[in-house]
Symmetry: C2
Subunit: 361 residues, 2 copies
Amino acid sequence: MNDNSSHFKPIILTGDRPTGALHLGHYVGSIQNRLKFQDEYDTCFYMVADVQALTDNADDPQKVRDNVIEVVLDNLAVGVDPTKTHFFIQSMVPEIAELTVFFMNLVTVQQLSHNPTIKTEALQKGYFLQNKFLTADGGEEKNIGHGIPLGFLAYPVSQAADILICKANIVPVGEDQMPVLEQANDIVKKFNATYGREVFPMIKGIVGSTPRLVGTDGSSKASKTLGNTIMLSDSPEEIERKVMSMYTDPNRLKKTDEGQIEGNVVFTYLDIFGTDKKKIEDFKRRYIAGGDDAPGDIEIKKYLIEELRKLLDPIRARREEYAKDIPAIEKILREGNAVARKYAQATMQEVREVMKINYKF
Amino acid sequence: MNDNSSHFKPIILTGDRPTGALHLGHYVGSIQNRLKFQDEYDTCFYMVADVQALTDNADDPQKVRDNVIEVVLDNLAVGVDPTKTHFFIQSMVPEIAELTVFFMNLVTVQQLSHNPTIKTEALQKGYFLQNKFLTADGGEEKNIGHGIPLGFLAYPVSQAADILICKANIVPVGEDQMPVLEQANDIVKKFNATYGREVFPMIKGIVGSTPRLVGTDGSSKASKTLGNTIMLSDSPEEIERKVMSMYTDPNRLKKTDEGQIEGNVVFTYLDIFGTDKKKIEDFKRRYIAGGDDAPGDIEIKKYLIEELRKLLDPIRARREEYAKDIPAIEKILREGNAVARKYAQATMQEVREVMKINYKF
């Protein structure tokens, strides 16, 4: 599975930033693969990326703190199994920070500022308000709105350390994170070449069945910030409200008009989440044809609500069950932290050896 | 002594990169203050900055490793007293890396790239070969020779963590490092304000009696790389050779010509290292006047050699004495590492508390 599968055993690492509840985009983007891989492979880690969350929430640590348990609950609710997957908290494995600092010497500022993920996210955050955001001589720089926090620019390096501290080599990710994994692999090559030993494995990123789920409003990406997504913890009423307000075919003014499937969010979601493929095909045929036999938007939406509830009701129920016993969640994290640190310390011992900083004093 | 001297006790931190032996520029730039402060203050740390040395020596870790003991020997030789100053190794205090990663969120890429020290050093290292070294849109960037390692750009942040992990607030430094300390103080203000508690003290940088020693060749700075400096470990023969080749007054062709004192390196060094001020004044007077009574360059140089040997011979002798017992040096470092970690752990406990990552699991 890897370039160097020879001596590295498969180790899976996945994780979320504790900045808010998970939604359907996460589910089809990476969670489905988490569930699949924990059955297929012996060693799986799930990391709560609190340090990464702080890179752009440094001034709101309480938000990050509050979401640590929430995001673990979300994952337990979807079926990530603590007997198969080690849950740990990024900040509780300080070796990650050490490895980050060492990796920072193997990456240039230029590489990072040209990374497509960094560029896209920086634009979203309003960091680039002018063409230029850095000059060497200071003479020609234009005034910019927000400076880029160094921690933000460095997050691909930090993410490489997250993955490699456990020597993980299979990472279920959203499509938008693939360039960050490429940066991590660049670090792997550079580290192994610089220190003359294959300390780290190459990483394979695995994108989910639906790399990018459209928003309920038809915009290209479902995101909590845009408010166009269905959360895994949404109540039946919220699911109903969100589906009922979904974007369909704006040109279909009457039920009997010929309808369009492409770009019709309800059908897009049905293709992904609907279980009765025959029924969906029948809906589509009649929707396109129009006429008296055509289904109303409400009829189709009601079917989507039904299908989403089939998926989400058990998740919500499991979430409520787990939420009753927070000390049990804390125990899962305590045990996971200990396992992750054991891996991390073994990795750092090797890193210190090849970097010749394995002092005995 | 500090903006907030109210509740922070004075703690001194100083250190060197283990990349080579120390020279006279270090002596008058910061070492004299190390010696003075260890007698004046209760808590003094000396850090071997191996992680910082690796930021631009990542591909030559053996060089860094070899110089760890050397740089400690240099400091013991000049009189830094291990019973008064805790010697520790940067990489042996992993809390520094943790604090660095947290501080990285409080500094912008722009601030660092405009820091005068970073700009000067980057130019020296050949990182900026064009006006622009970074663009946001990728469209207008010019081809540049060497990319800037992220670890290099981030070193002022890392240095802030070095100092603040022990809550040091008095730092004897070379003049060229003052902008890096200003950056550290900016981080102190930002951290304390963001997390609503005065966790860190403001840092006071103290520049030595001679902030910038000219090179033996008359160039503005003595530096090992430029080969124009006298090392603390130089043998009497090396001292003699270097002083004899020192830059004097290029327009004084004969001993009887009127001579120039300004820009005359021998007199500059005599002003700094000469102990018999009356004799030096007499030399100067006769040198300027010219005529039969004027001193020859060799006569003055011989006096400088004598004075430098008075300073350096005992340093070299102490160095040789210490070098006989390397296990004793290792013991000094082992004990110092333990003290530094105790301070570091106490600081990180407070940091984790205000950052709300002090999980009990």
